[in-house]
């Protein structure tokens, strides 16, 4: 696709014109090379060293990784991530699909409703965390309110309960993102050809069959996108956990992102922190790389 200036122009001019685009792109290339890939390599290297408070360059082989998987808190973090990510993805997709299908029924105030469903995406996870933290707090929030209404035995103390606290993070995260997933599915629905559906309907297919057989299969790309977005957000989730539970009670809601931060910066186990970051990167790469690959190749 490379373009050359008209032949009439001078040779040096030609060269300059040829080099200019690359010259303009080069600062970005340098920045990405250093601050993305260079830093990745640096952290990767640290994960094989005995770094503590400060980076050290003493290689210790796989020791950090071995230790990492022996640490209870990491175990908790991984388990929590699995619970959180799967519930978060499934609920967001189910809710998003339901709302999108309902909104696709010639709803009169659709624009307004869409705006309401999507506004949480504009908020910081910290704001979301604060709102839900106090709303779910048994002392002043939902539990206290319902009891005040007369249902004395009502109890909802998940956020203070080690076994249930992780689910409160799912609740808040779903609240924040499900509207976005709805918008993705809605856009997908709008891309489906009406004629085919009309024909199927005339043939006597029930509404349910119509959606199950024709509509939902055509939403595959939207599902793919939603999955990639949600999975990658789940793995990175840090702010929400910090604001909502602070990783507690105890370490009950520790996730890999909070683990990495506390081991690196407060517990001075930089080597182990780096190792945990590497594992996070690997997990995300396993999802993102094939996706980027197929997307960019398709384009050609």
């Amino acid at each position: 696709m490379s373009q050359t200036a008209p032949a009439a122009r001078g040779r040096s001019m030609d060269r300059l014109q040829d080099a200019l685009p690359k010259l303009v792109l080069s600062p970005t290339i340098a920045i990405v090379a250093i601050f993305v890939y260079g830093f990745i390599l640096f952290t990767l290297y640290l994960s094989f060293t005995d770094s503590r408070i400060l980076p050290s360059y003493n290689l210790v082989g796989w020791k950090n990784y071995e230790n990492l998987f022996r640490i209870r808190a990491w175990d908790t973090a991984i388990n929590n991530l699995i619970i959180f990510a799967s519930l978060y993805i499934v609920i967001c997709c189910a809710l998003g699909l339901l709302l999108a299908i309902l909104l696709d029924q010639k709803i009169r105030t659709e624009g307004f409703i869409r705006t309401v469903y999507l506004y949480p995406m504009a908020l910081s996870f910290i704001v979301t965390g604060v709102a839900w933290k106090w709303f779910l707090d048994p002392g002043i929030g939902l539990e206290a309110v319902v009891r005040g209404w007369g249902w004395e035995s009502f109890s909802f103390g998940w956020i203070k309960d080690s076994d249930m606290a992780i689910y409160t993070i799912v609740i808040a995260a779903v609240w924040q993102t499900s509207g976005f997933v709805m918008a993705m599915f809605l856009a997908g629905l709008r891309g489906i050809d009406n004629e085919m559906l009309k024909a199927a309907q005339i043939d006597g297919a029930s509404t349910f069959a119509l959606y199950r057989r024709i509509v939902i299969p055509q939403l595959r790309p939207a599902f793919m996108s939603a999955f990639v977005v949600l999975a990658h957000m789940a793995i990175k989730s840090y702010d929400l956990v910090i604001a909502l539970t602070g990783g507690g009670p105890g370490t009950a809601t520790e996730v890999p992102a909070t683990f990495m931060y506390s081991y690196t910066f407060t517990r001075n186990q930089m080597g182990i922190g780096a190792a945990s970051a590497v594992i996070m990167l690997m997990t995300i790469a396993a999802i993102i790389v094939p996706y980027l690959w197929s997307e960019l190749r398709e384009k050609k």
Partner: protein
């Protein structure tokens, strides 16, 4: 907000804006079904609005009304005191400065970071589409991947790098970090937008003797308004809402709003002033909410850009 909820942005050109297309109506026309649909939709409106209601209502009532179990009720006694406290007197970290200085930090941080990353993104997008060369798709892929890495991977070396550059714990340091990791998305937006821009126009201008920058300035830039708005809104929302970089690379006096809000809520040693927390939370949310209300169309477009391929 989510650092990068836009993976699917990747390919498609201008991106589909609001999903408007063939609305359909397959649930049979009988009244009951319609009523049920509306009921469900309204129920979910309440669900999404509830936390906002809780924040607003409780930021306007005295603390005693909240602790007495009246979180869902309207204030019996309306008061602006929590707002005043959150803004200028609340204890954030060590000092009783309120959130005001941190709000200002966030503004000083956001404006240059957004401007820089948008300008660079526009130039990159121009090169990658109208002057693409062998390997430019690969380069784009490599830039793009940088958007999705867990930033935990760069925290340690970035902390050292900022130290070496003498920018550790400063607002300019944060500007730099956000600029660097904002380039990926801004490049993505402009690349996809310019990909749909007729290349013939560029060729024609070239034959007329226009150079690289002239073409960009005279031909592409004038029609870049919409994507620039999308990009600016996206970067603004992301950078304003960032917490991880703010928490990692700022000192007490350079903290952005999100970090200060979190400190306010987590570290209050004495009585927990829920009403002040809610007022602070709204303050932190207000700029991005305002942008959403005013230019929601562009925000959604940024989120969705190209998510749908059929």
């Amino acid at each position: 907000m989510a650092s990068a909820p836009t993976t699917e942005v990747i390919t498609t050109g201008t991106g589909s804006p609001d999903p408007v297309g063939p609305h359909r109506r397959f649930f049979t026309a009988d009244g009951l079904a319609r009523v049920t649909i509306y009921a469900i939709l309204i129920l979910f409106c309440i669900y999404y609005l509830l936390p906002l209601y809780v924040m607003v209502v409780n930021s306007l009532k005295p603390l005693s009304e909240i602790t007495a179990g009246g979180m869902m009720a309207l204030p019996r006694q309306w008061t602006g005191a929590p707002w005043q406290s959150a803004w200028s007197t609340a204890q954030v970290g060590v000092d009783a400065t309120g959130l005001k200085p941190y709000f200002i930090n966030s503004i000083i941080m956001v404006v240059p970071a957004v401007a820089l990353s948008t300008i660079i993104g526009a130039l990159n997008g121009y090169v990658l589409t109208k002057w693409s060369f062998r390997g430019s798709t690969l380069i784009f892929g490599l830039i793009l991947f940088g958007c999705f890495i867990p930033f935990q991977m760069v925290l340690i070396p970035m902390a050292r790098m900022l130290g070496l550059m003498g920018m550790a714990g400063t607002v300019p340091g944060l500007v730099f970090v956000h600029f660097v990791y904002g380039i990926g998305f801004s490049t993505l937006y402009f690349r996809n937008y310019y990909a749909a821009f007729p290349t013939e126009l560029v060729r024609a201008a070239q034959i007329d003797g226009a150079g690289f920058f002239t073409i960009f300035w005279r031909i592409l830039l004038p029609s870049s308004g919409p994507i620039a708005v999308v990009c600016i809104i996206w970067q603004f929302t992301n950078i304003w809402n960032d917490f991880l970089f703010g928490a990692s690379f700022s000192d007490f006096d350079s903290q952005p709003m999100t970090v200060a809000l979190n400190n306010l809520v987590q570290s209050s040693t004495g009585v927990k002033e829920y009403n002040v927390h809610f007022a602070g939370a709204i303050m932190a949310a207000l700029p991005t909410l305002l942008v959403y209300v005013v230019a929601g169309r562009f925000f959604v477009r940024g989120l969705m850009a190209g998510s749908v391929k059929g």
